[in-house]
Symmetry: C2
Subunit: 455 residues, 2 copies
């Protein structure tokens, strides 16, 4: 087996500001192009934030490549990419479940947000979400919320790769009391964070029904001017379809297309209520869709036409949405739910294959966020990798990688490497004090519970 | 807070053949009747296989009640009840995924079963399934397969409570080469196991389309004569509905009703293709339904009318089905999938509440299997309990027990008590050597893979 080795001739650009080196040995490695989806007995050398070399253990020469991780009995795969989250909303996990959308929003989530969303809350609750995501194998997240400076700081300190999108909405919002300043606030945020190591700043226009046409166009112009991703909730509920149809005589997707907002840096989140024409518009414009099946199921929003989007060539990612409507951030569970939901929706067990969902949660999800060099275990790629322990009853036997979707869960992830740095080792997070974060959030939750109605 | 204490005056019948005593302290305990679903700071005393006493820690007096477990930061809840499994099929976990039903069965599962299902295979693969179930918080399983003596022995050695149902089918089957002997084989099996401590023997008639009317009636008569549960796959696919309609001019449920097979000891598994009349027949007869949402989704069988069954008063349990069509046995994931699926199916977020699903997976599931005294954390009940670690990011905050459905997973279970015996402690199974079982099954899986087509 050939080795693509950069280890001897380290390209300088890989090492700017970084001196971490790691070598993983005795690993199964994820390999989408093989029948089983993995290769046995490999080593991987990591330095400067990237995969420097990999190959069969038969060709492994120890050398001085830093810390050694023995992955015997485990599989090394690309870290998972969460295409949509509102990380700080972890504070509201399970605050109000099993309710119709409007009472849920109006009697629980909106009042709780109005009272409790503060910079400090966003910082600590985003860190809690980062802990949960790292512990369940997510290495990159697209987050969408307010007080985005605090979110970006939390991800940076956690050592997670993040696209931190600052919210735009035509109402008073956390940190942006005057809606006339909504786009300007995001502009300042972007300019503070452009060029950061782990964080990509971005724009999050809340939805076609909470932003005016003018706001949507200005927000997209800002995103274009800085060449950053533009996120928007799109066609989540049937009610939204009705609202847009009333004001624009068309679907939410057609409305965005008419405004000129759809292009290859636009990420439409949810996309539940899309018809064939909408799917064509998305495919032609190059806009991507991030589906959030668990949130759509829990809120009974509907089932997105994921198989149809895939057939039409629309770029697809997978997201958890925030904890308030999921109620967790485990992408292993999300992959399972996604694959199974779309089989039963179409009454076709071949409809959405495990491999399709793995692609959405890794390389395709990374690319639609703008990371062209992530999501594949190959030399030169970003070293965002997770080590999954297969030596467990529920992963025995392991005929192939389908069981990462249908049988694994987040707790099977032993170690996590992000940007070449060991962020979690044997389920211990190395970058920050998780117990402190849980204590801080639990204290805030006691205040929430005291204030919440009906308890 | 009152204490219902039996600890001082141990009733003799609780102690026949048992001398294990355990006391859990500092626990949150599951309490379905409270707003949050749990109570803080409780102790539980266990002896003779039952809960002897429980109460607030303020009223706790140490005494000599055996081994002490400190559950600070954790929740004690009833062990989960898996209403349908084919445990030995764990050998085929992920052997063939994402295939239409007929190629899946005919080109993969049936040939693999014909070649590899042997008494030794059933013994080891059932033990593997027992390990997976214990590790994910299941304390009782209804298993349905062949070579049921080996399955029953495996569950006994694992220390799991099991209803072991021996298969009846009008074809040559593992251990029953002559279909004329199918009911007699089950009769002998039942008579060997009736009265066993942990295992309840039972009858599993495969389906209305693989058993003749005569076989179904004889199998049910056998179950009645021994007063044991009778299981049958019912209305799993639309194709089955067509087959039964062709031969009986009615639905599968109406067919069973006409044969006199439906009563309160009959457990119908799947129940996907049921109409309003079928649901009435089930409700009136007292027959129970075990739904297996993940399997029904993965094989694209359809979505069972679970909310309608619940409204009609049909007793409902939750099952994983076998690993070949799931591909795991984690009932925490199954609860999540079940609640979310039925919300989106009915476009009503209040359709199937977390509490409904918790009920199905605990007390309701236990009762429909014949265990009237299980599934509730209360004095006098069977001590089938699990300790769930809440001190984790994905379970923070913990406003209420809904998050056991929407955020927890099997790996959160720290310790498991079955029949008063500590079977798993801090994720280590105490009753058997799990590594040996994984090795044995992995060796069999290598043979399966060599023999399987298309690899």
């Amino acid at each position: 087996m050939s080795i693509i080795s950069l280890c001897g001739k380290k390209p300088l650009r890989y090492f700017q500001g970084m001196d971490r080196e790691l070598t993983i040995i005795n690993a199964k490695i994820f390999a989408a192009h093989t029948p089983q989806g993995f290769l046995e007995d490999h080593f991987i050398k990591i330095g400067g934030g990237r995969i420097l070399a990999l190959g069969s253990m038969a060709a492994y020469g120890p050398g001085n490549c830093g810390k050694l991780l023995d992955a015997r009995g485990a599989l090394v795969m690309p870290g998972l990419v969460n295409g949509h989250n509102h990380a700080a909303m972890s504070l509201f996990r399970g605050l109000a479940d099993d309710l119709p959308l409007m009472p849920w929003l109006e009697q629980h989530i909106f009042p709780a947000e109005a009272r409790f969303v503060r910079p400090e809350m966003v910082y600590w609750c985003t860190k809690l979400a980062a802990a949960e995501m790292i512990l369940s194998g997510t290495t990159t997240v697209a987050d969408a919320y307010f007080h985005a400076d605090e979110a970006a700081a939390a991800f940076t300190e956690a050592g997670m790769r993040a696209v931190a999108a600052h919210g735009v909405i035509d109402f008073p919002a956390p940190g942006v009391p005057d809606p006339a300043e909504n786009v300007a606030a995001v502009e300042h945020f972007i300019d503070r964070w452009l060029g950061a190591d782990l964080v990509t700043p971005a724009v999050f226009a809340h939805s076609p029904y909470t932003c005016s046409s003018r706001t949507l166009v200005r927000a997209k112009e800002l995103a274009r001017s800085r060449n950053v991703p533009f996120f928007i909730h799109l066609a989540e509920t049937e009610a939204e379809k009705g609202m847009i149809s009333d004001k624009w005589q068309g679907s939410p997707a057609a409305y965005l297309h008419d405004l000129g907002v759809l292009d290859e840096r636009t990420v439409c989140v949810h996309g539940v209520w899309l018809d064939g024409h909408d799917i064509s518009l998305l495919a032609l414009s190059g806009a991507a869709v991030v589906t959030c099946p668990e949130s759509n199921m829990k809120l009974a929003a509907g089932m997105a036409p994921v198989a149809e989007l895939l057939s039409a060539g629309v770029r697809l990612g997978l997201g958890t949405d925030g904890c308030a409507s999921n109620n967790d951030l485990d992408l292993f569970g999300e992959m399972d739910m996604c694959a199974k939901l779309h089989k039963v929706r179409s009454l076709d067990p071949a409809a959405l294959k495990a491999r399709d969902v793995l692609d959405m949660a890794t390389v395709a999800g990374a690319r639609l966020l703008g990371f062209a060099d992530a999501g594949v275990v190959a030399a030169g790629m970003l070293a965002d990798l997770i080590i999954v322990d297969l030596a467990q009853p529920h992963l025995t036997p392991f005929y192939g990688v389908d069981n990462l979707v249908y049988a694994a869960d987040g707790a099977d992830v032993r170690s996590v490497i992000i940007n070449g740095r060991l962020v979690m080792e044997e389920r211990r997070i190395l970058t920050f004090d998780v117990a402190e974060v849980m204590d801080r959030v639990a204290a805030m939750a006691r205040d929430v519970r005291r204030a919440a109605p009906g308890w």
